[in-house]
Amino acid sequence: MTDLPKSTGKKLGLVIDLDICVGCHACAVNCKEWNTSGHMAPLTDLLPYGEEPSGVWFNRIHSFEVVDENSGDSRTVHFPKSCLHCDDAPCVTVCPTGASYKREEDGIVLVNADTCIGCKLCSWACPYGAREYDEDAGVMKKCTLCVDKIYNENLPPESRVPACVSTCPVAARHFGDLGDPNSDVSRLVEARGGYALMPEQDCAPVNRYLPPRPRKNGSDDEMIRAPRMLEYKDTSDDGAGLLARWVDRILSS
């Protein structure tokens, strides 16, 4: 019921590297601390010291253990997820009041707290589960891509970036204009084979994920950088031959 812009000047978004994400939650918590006093303030917490603490988080880390059926090898995968600022955002078109909208200037999807009626249609419409309902305020909240930070000249340049990006200790998060094929982030996505999450949902998400690189774990011959075994210089199994060999040899040259 709410229109999307026909096109946006830029497509600002995040690029998230699943190869190096260690699941430390730095992005999620730094996001929370910025945004709880930010555009959608507060990011309310219910029973924060109680039996079932819960709160509004724009960014959450999902961790899975993945087991390879053939080898039996397991891996832990950490998957940070926040709003993907879709081009065809169903959370916007479903909104009955126009509160959920996509900015024409840069493609950021925001919620206008003044006109949101808390009907939750947008959260039903979002296939990524990226919306966060603030029960206390009765308003739907979500990632703003730190819209009050990235353009804010009251901040030093290195702080004018989404909180989740500058804080990431492994530097697994990147930010820029994904609508510009020559932008740094677009180059990065191209080089790393970045992909869109669940494209079959036809939401045209802007954010991209970079896939894990192959692991050099010895299971694949091509990935091995050394012979499987060293060449022994002596066949004695207690080293006697080697020790005898070394007695008069200058080994240090």
């Binding site: 010291y49 109680g50 930070k149 050394a226």
Partner: protein
Amino acid sequence: MIGNPFETVKEDADLTPDVADEVKTTTCYMCACRCGIRVYLKDGTVRYIEGNPDHPVNKGVLCAKGSAGIMNHYSPARLTKPLLRVGERGSGEFKEIEWDEALGLATEWLGEVRARDPRKLAFFTGRDQSQSLTGWWAAQFGTPNFAAHGGFCSVNMAAAGLYTIGGAFWEFGEPDWDLTKYFMLFGVAEDHDSNPIKMGLGRMRTRGGTKFVSINPCQTGYSAIADEWVGIRPGTDGLFVFALIHELLRAEKVDFGYLARYTNAGWLVIDNPGGADDGLFARDDNGQPLAYDLTTNGVVPANSLSIAPALAGERTLPDGRKARPSFEILAKRYLAKDYAPDTVADAIGIKAETIRRIAAELAEVAFSEEVVIDTPWTDWLGRKHDKFVGRPISMHGMRGISAHSNGFHTCRAIHLLQVLLGSVDVPGGWRYKAPFPKPIPPGPKPAGKTVQPNTPLNGMPIGNPTGPEDLIVDGDGNPLRIDKAYSWEHPIAAHGLMHMVIHNAWAADPYPVDVLMMYMANMGWNSAMNVPGTIRYLTDRDEDGGYKIPKIIYSDAFYSEMVPFADLILPDTTYLERWDCISLLDRPISSAHGPADAIRQPVSEPDRDVRAFQEVLIDLGARLRLPGMTNADGGPKYPGGYPDYIVNHERMPGIGPLAGWRGNGEQFGTGTPNPDQLARYIENGCFWQDHFPDDAQYMKPFNPAYLAYAKRMGWIPNEEPIVYQLYSETLQKFRLAARGHGGVQPPAEHRERIETYFDPLPIWYMPFEEAAVDTNTYPLHAITQRPMHMYHSWGSQNAWLRQITSHNRLFINSATAKNLGIADDDWVWVISHAGRVKGQARLMEGTNKHTVWTWNAIGKRKGSWGLDKDAPEMKRGFLLNHIISELLPEREGGYRYSNSDPVTGQAAWYDLRVRIEKCLPHEIGETEPAYPEVASPPGVAAHPAPEILRFGEMIKGEPTGRAPATHLEWIGNRHEYALSIDGMPDGHGNRTEENAGGKDDTKETRA
């Protein structure tokens, strides 16, 4: 406000709000990493904390803990005023008192002890970052009974490194992240050190062409991004390393040149079984070690310029004694079949072919993928080198290795592997962080053998023994310290044994104490071994009805589980309300590139009647008239308190807590106190750093360019080279004492133990608990890991962090669990020889089949930490601490040794053996053991935790009306990507080199 429903109301989002009245820099304390932070203050409230982009530790990043600092700062668990116990110990019943009364009482208690017998004060600090102050205070007081928490943290790691290579992992060294090609991470390391490891791993993997191997029974934490996970059985890492060494030696894939030049491999070891000199180095009249030179065929000083030392073969010394190079003894040991991959594979749970392949990979990277830096340098013998040659293999280990009773030797084994590969302090290897390397072992020695009333010790209570004569024992060889550190039970207890203090004080073994003073150590809960026992020791009474530990003073910022057990509480500030110095005299934050230190400045005024513990110590020092804290006229030497001390204290002439801006402000390292020093630090973002010259960056132990710098800074006593001690003569000296040689010998009952564990070369032995209990009854290992978003017990009071983890599960290998009939979320008993604890199971493939594990320090006691009594931390969180004994099972004669490493006294947390039993239906639902809820002190009770937290609502910034700036592109690891992606500008984040040099060196993208 809903307008015409047929018309979209457009929001005019404010893009440039005023977000802060002021931004102040300081140093984080949400863990031990000590990152630089920028704190945004708005309307008197802390609005936002971000990493300081200019800071040498974190370069702008900040972890989850640091980002949640606001919630610690405003925690409802904060103490508000000094407290005096009024109820029974442990009840939590206190009355509030004024600081004057509190300090008066402390002065009275402490003054009486000092006048009678200073040893009767046991002063132990926990996660203390000011040990150079607290240790000095103890020395001034005159008690040897001081240590921080290192004895239950990672002293094995520290001592093994310091006694082998003059440095160690974490604070003493780091991988050369930008050049390393092969990184081996041993055990859990998610907490130490936090951000630099994450940053390094991210850069390493992004750069490419590297391999990261994680050796850990659990595939947690950083293992998620490792190339290869080696799911080893706990406590067997030493065997794994020996098998790698075995393979490398058999293939002669060790750096013989490096060994000959920079280690004691060629030093001759006297072969005289039964003699007092057996196993010591042959030395000339000047005490210089001797080697056999193959070019001149004679015995010469080992440091001769043109020597080609023999590394094997028995030689005859000029005086006729027989000797052989230490390398021969070393090689012979590890070439034995005992350490062949096929021999150890079953014990460690790793296939022999995997061990052989990893050895082959190490050899390949070390010797075929050298990293060369074309910087000429000169070594200590004047030999000129036109480049630094690096064997780009790096390693790191912490608690996973340390927290076993065989950890000292295992850690030494890892250093041995590093040195055999020639990968210490070379490009791409593992590098020292200033002020390391230090002489091996480093000075000074521990003080405290003699104690006099009202008299300072003649040195610092913590130090590094070089032989039996340095032990703190009486004439009969009995311990003189309350924790039995530096006794024959734990001779190289370089960080003390905090985990034994409460037990020993209760048992009056070796003697009782009158006052126990502790700081920031949750000894009533998750920092204790044997929580049920510790609670008993803290509350037990003697025949007269008095407590066996008569007086307990404790300082903490929060209502932790330890608080109810103290008699007098001195409430500390939060980290944002205090001064501190992160000193090179203490626990440095330097990098391999150069030294650094830092301060904390108060960015927020306390809204409570609390004082920083360091302020209190200096005040108490003056009240007690401790010489270092009192002027000749009896007045306080540091009337300005802690900042006054930070600036004006001199440990040696010209050397104080902070290295930067000394003297006239232009000097660093040494210089007279500078009254403007703190202002200069603040001006610079609260840190100081320097960069070593290019020719001093590597090979520091043998590099005069570095050694001269270090000498000038006061880090080392002279410019002598620091030769790696693969074979440890120091350990052999203790062993000789056990064989009946020398003036200081162990009592008979300890001789076999010293003989066994003071082997001069690394050994492996079964962890003590595993060896002592029936492994059929206790078939599993049980260990803990640290989640990256929690540190110590402080995480659970944090409204944000506890939403990530509020209770812990017992992780069990899926196959193991299925055999036991255990499914996800089942309640299980974890049973050790010492007790049982109940928790919920979680099945996991990535766990060693013989191992269960859980997150550390999540479980809480009801009533503590400002949490609801029904919080998941209380009902479903559990601690393994409940079932870890602080004592080993009885041995012959009834004596029970501490559950610790026999060399260093390191607490053997990870030796725990258990069995798992499914709970009966009526047992499920809540963890056990359960303890009664403690009462809240008045100040904590007066500020109940909110049910709804709307933090930020009131400090949301107002519009400034400024025009929005253009967005800036941010590429993480930009420098690494610039090397491989066409057109990617080099730089960092949104700073690019294209625009460097301008006022604003940030690249603005097209509008």
